[in-house]
Amino acid sequence: MGSTESFIEKLAIKQEQKGLLADRIRTKEMQEDVILEVVNLRKFFDIPIPFETTWFMIAFVGAIVLFAFYQLYGLILIGAIIVLYFVLPYVPPFNKRPKVAHLKAVDGIDIQIRKGKIVGLVGESGCGKSTAAKTIIRLHEPTSGAVYFKGIDINRLTSEEMHEIRRHLQIVFQDPYASLNPRATAHDIIIEPFDIHGVASGDEASYRVLTLLKDVGLAPHHAYRYPHEFSGGQRQRLGIARALALEPDFIVMDEPVSNLDVSVRAAIIQLILELQRKMGLTYLFIAHDLSLVKILCDEVNVMYLGKIMEAGTSDEIFESMMHPYTKALISAVPIADPTKRSKKIFLTGDIPTPINPPPGCKFQTRCPLVSDICRVEEPTARWYSETHVAYCHNIEGGEASPDFYKQ
């Protein structure tokens, strides 16, 4: 919106004043309607591998036995073992063992989010969808890759600049109770963003809090209640009000209704849609409930073990899906219609751990179509329309590039 454009200009002026190199902030020319673009984003977590203690334990027990027989020698031995235990890991050749393993939570994803759209990110638990969302709005620092928000690579901004841009990027968390301060009233929770960003203060801020409460369907007398005094649905409304306080352009909805009961869930979904219509918001909607994603989202990205398997518009994903994982995932969803008991595709086994993901295609361990090439080579993109892309070796048709359809 207008405020962002002026922010970019301000940023440029500040850069000039400081005499900084203009290319420190990398910008990208983006299509008119694209608000956020994620390019090859990766986020690895370092998992420390503990030093093997087994041999040490054996030696330690031996030393105690020795100590029982030869008192002083034993003491020296125990000391030596303790010293060795702490020193050995740093002495070659014993220091060769890697001290950390990489948990590849997000392993190179590309997403384009158009203004005013609801983009879904779906997948099983542990596929990295929440990490992806948090990395996109830079709550996690990415390992590599870029996120362009209105053309600016937000990962290159300083914390001051990031502070400014956070006004436009907000998030609503899954568990509203865990994400609200239990010792602050609803009023304090919503007013905090105003204080931090110096947008409003005093009576004006309080007035805006009341307006926000009304917008999300809460009453003014709720303002002085604490989070534990609200029901689950009301708490989630409060979380949404907080996210809306600074009039953002883009909100990440990280499973906002998964913890809620069916009847309350529908009300929150209605609220989310109504706010989008009213304020022209753009959402990245994370969910594992596919029937909800189907009716809610304009575009859907299907994720598996840190990678996007298939992406497309909602119709393309649910009506003409190509990837075997998407097919299995959609067929597994129970349909609330007893006359349509669907034929299911059963995947064998569980989702593998992302610490040492399988080589080649990530889905090869459970894929019904698996062939030799899947175990060696990562599949490349196959485009079925300008928006519909799937990554698989064993599916028919498609083009290597979306340009084929751009005419």
Binding site: E124, S125, S231, G233, Q234, D261, V262, S263, V264, R265, A266, A267, I269, Q270, L273, H288, L290, S291, L292, K294, I295, L296, A328, L329, S331, A332, V333, P334, I335, A336, D337, P338, T339, K340, R341, K344, F346, L347, D350, I351
Partner: protein, 352 residues
């Protein structure tokens, strides 16, 4: 087409369970009447706090006491009231003729024993077999529920299994004594959809193979539609509607059932089709008077619903509804005021 009485496996009449807590008396179940027929799957659906799980615990007589207490009602299984049985007799039935699986398989498996030990324990308790035979039987039942290389996995501890596999172990344990009734309390809620599909398929297959009845407790209407023959809808301690699954999903009679079905995304629904039940689930320490749904109900009849609890009315054989829209009192009320309240159709009702 009412079924003959000898088809009935379990009958619950007027069950009432309260919890006496420090904050007050939680009236978890006020009045539950249910019939489970032989080799059928009955769905028990409702939101959290509607009393689904407490019903299950009350059937087995394992309501935590204190604070819980079954105050009234009878649970008739094979002609005898389970509530009158001694503890020793009840133990013979529990886990043997009636088995239960719980939502969270990690907390209901003992972490310090191998799964083989835990399955054998159930077998040895109810059948006269040696330890070796029990172990062999455990391996057999584990491979039956689809645990690969069961003869090795039998010596593993629960933490060595994934969530889906743990739930399979729970099912194996429940099936080990060929129960006639299996109570499955949200068996797939904590699992991913692909794993959920596996577990539900397993339950369906085993219920056919063992010719056993299942009470499937869930809040997911999708799971009910996939699995069940009949469904009972619970709200705040009452059964508000019970009937054949095809009837309930096509034309629900109770306003709450209708609201519940309107609130879930249907296969070919649009965004606008999602309807809302206003308000929220009542606090059961101080529940609304009479019909507990009346503060949220669009069809509420002033002066009737908040004073008189409607009876379960049989609309058609096997289809019971607890709502004043169908009682004589309700009809008199409507006639008196010349108002006609008819329950609305489901938005975009499914075309059958």
């Amino acid at each position: 087409m009412s079924r003959p009485p000898e088809d009935i496996l379990l009958e619950i009449n007027g069950l009432k369970t309260y919890f006496f807590t420090e904050e007050g008396v939680v009236k978890a179940i006020e009045s539950v009447d249910l019939v489970v027929y032989k080799s059928e799957t009955l769905g028990l659906v409702g939101e959290s706090g509607s009393g689904k799980s407490v019903t299950a615990l009350s059937i087995l007589g394992i309501v935590p006491d204190p604070p819980g207490k079954i105050l009234d009602g009878e649970v008739i299984f094979h002609g005898q009231d389970l509530r009158n049985l001694s503890d020793a007799d009840m133990r013979k039935i529990r886990g043997n003729q009636i088995a239960m699986i719980f939502q969270d398989p990690m907390t209901s498996l003992n972490p310090v024993f191998t799964v083989g030990d835990q399955i054998s324990e159930a077998i040895m308790l109810h059948q006269k077999v040696t330890k070796k035979e029990a172990r062999e039987k455990s391996v057999k039942i584990m491979s039956l529920v689809g645990i690969p290389s069961a003869d090795e996995r039998v010596d593993n501890y629960p933490f060595e299994f994934s969530g889906g596999m743990r739930q399979r172990v729970m099912i194996a344990m429940a099936l080990s004594c060929n129960p006639e009734l299996l109570i499955a309390d949200e068996p797939s809620t904590s699992l991913d959809v692909t794993i959920q599909a596996q577990i539900l398929e397993l339950l369906k297959a085993t219920s056919e193979e063992f010719d056993m009845s299942i009470i499937l407790i869930t809040h997911d209407m999708g799971v009910i539609a996939e699995m069940c023959d009949r469904v009972a809808v619970m709200y705040a301690g009452y059964i508000c509607e019970i009937g054949d699954i095809m009837v309930i999903f096509k034309s629900p009679y109770h306003p709450y059932t209708r609201g519940l079905l309107g609130a879930i995304p249907r296969p070919d629904a649009e965004r606008e089709d999602l309807t809302i039940i206003r308000g929220s689930i009542p606090n059961l320490i101080n529940p609304p008077s009479a019909c507990r749904f009346h503060p949220r109900c669009d069809y509420m009849m002033q002066g009737l619903c908040e004073h008189h609890l409607p009876d379960l009315v049989e609309i058609e054989p096997e289809h019971m509804v607890r709502c004043h829209l169908y009682t004589d009192e309700g009809k008199a009320w409507m006639q008196e005021r010349g108002e006609k309240k008819v329950i609305g159709q489901l938005p975009k009702a499914i075309t059958i």
